[in-house]
Amino acid sequence: MEEKKLLKGNEAIAEAAIRGGCRAFFGYPITPQNEIPEYMSFRMPEVGGVFIQSESEVSAINMVYGAAGSGARAMTSSSSPGISLKQEGISYIAGAEVPCVIVNMVRSGPGLGGIQPAQCDYFQSVKGGGHGDYKMLVYGPNSVQECVDIMYNAFDKAFEYRMPVMILGDGMLGQIMEAVTLPPMKDFSNVPNPDWAADGTRYGNDRRVINSLYIQPDELEALNHKLFAKYDVLQEKECMYEEYLCEDAEIVITAYGTVARIAKSAVDMLRESGVKAGLLRPITVFPFPSDRFARLASRSEVKKFVSVELSMGQMVEDVRLAVNGKKPVEFFGRCGGNVMTGEDIVEYIIKGGK
């Protein structure tokens, strides 16, 4: 095993992507994720990969579409306003069933907003984002090590399901340095190109086509159903969450990403003052661990859920859908780039909400 390294979240994601087989990166600079393209710019040539700083975000995502459509392990990264610009391309990639990885180190919005951490792109990430009926596999890691572990396998998931995978971080996660253990380099040199890849080796009737245009309604409807059948499989097989002190919890706090760590410290403080609090942390935000919420909601000792977010309240809607009226679901958040402390969460809970 390699020696532990102290890495920024952004750098760690870039290195983990390379070790997970990424050999093509296309991006355009934006704070707070600039260390990803910076790292890729010198690291990609070392491993024989491609790095291009494109002229725009729109261009970058379409380069990903093209490279990934030929079978390459391609990715892009950006932050909120840049991810908005990529939405058209992401929709095409989803429609054409092309695998790729997109990293969003979220900053505050709307508009150009600010450059400080936020989670205000939850809706955009898990409800579609671009036009048309589609979803992505979306992870919300909470530490630099978890970023590495998830990124390392993200391409495998993308290829398994032939769909875009998103890593949904926030500015804090991109900038924080923590000790990480990096996994070994995956070797794909003997793995044949996938049988759907338009890699220029087949002609005439054997040619492969990457396309999201389906003019015949029946054909498109079949594709819609095919995509959603995959999302059902995701729900069944890929749902990830972590629980902390939920066994006897009366108040279930829920949060994802870095905020879940702040919430965890709040749970510890609440427990010290005799409040039975627990934490349910979704690791995948799509698929959302709805079943787990539903099961907790039906426990008699659980009095309420509190969703803690860096937004005006987005994930809380999925919590409400999952809890389905069985228990009250409250929301506590900060936004604009401000970040709550553990004490803020404790104060909210002790005061009984509001």
Binding site: M172, Q175, I176, A179, S265, G342
Partner: protein
């Protein structure tokens, strides 16, 4: 858990000082997090970072009341001094901060960091002087390990290594 806030002007080596502490703790097998304030400011603007050191995994990397504050300039002292825990420590860069800390429930250590750095012919290493003073007074980190850490960090800049260790030593020996 020890929570340390290090604050000063951009360019004073504030973020690097936080990394020296984080690397040293990591090499001693402890859990660490290093969270910078990041913003549009550059040299001359304000900069700070929060470093958490613990035997257990770090829950929240955000420090609302630090055990230790390292204030490299006056605005930083003004901003964070009142937030330091009772019984905590404030290390003051007295080269730039002429006022005394107005609290009697914390330990205050004044280090004339810039002048001491000049004394070892390494005027840019005020942050390493403070690092020495921190290791000496806060007992979280081992001195020998801290020096090995400095060696690892400056491995690619060997011509600065000796004068950087000298800056660390003069801070430690105060």
């Amino acid at each position: 858990m020890e929570g340390i806030i290090i604050a000063g002007f951009g360019g004073q080596g504030v973020l690097s000082l936080g990394q020296f502490i984080a690397y040293s703790a990591m090499y001693e097998g402890m859990e660490v997090s290093w969270l910078p304030s990041y913003g549009p400011e550059m040299r001359g603007g304000t900069a700070n970072c929060s470093v958490c050191v613990d035997k257990k995994p770090i829950a929240s990397p955000i420090i609302s009341s630090p055990d230790t504050l390292i204030a490299m300039n006056m605005p930083s002292l003004t901003k964070f001094a009142s937030k330091v825990k009772k019984g905590g420590t404030i290390i003051v860069n007295s080269s730039l901060i002429t006022e005394k800390v107005d609290r009697d429930d914390v330990r205050v250590i004044y280090v004339d960091a810039s002048d001491l750095a000049v004394k070892v012919n390494n005027p840019k290493a005020a942050n390493l002087v403070i690092f020495g003073a921190y290791v000496k007074n806060c007992k979280t980190l081992d001195k020998a390990n801290a020096i090995v850490t400095i060696g690892k960090i400056f491995a690619k800049k060997p011509k600065f290594l000796q004068s950087n260790i000298a800056a660390f030593e003069i801070g430690f020996d105060l």
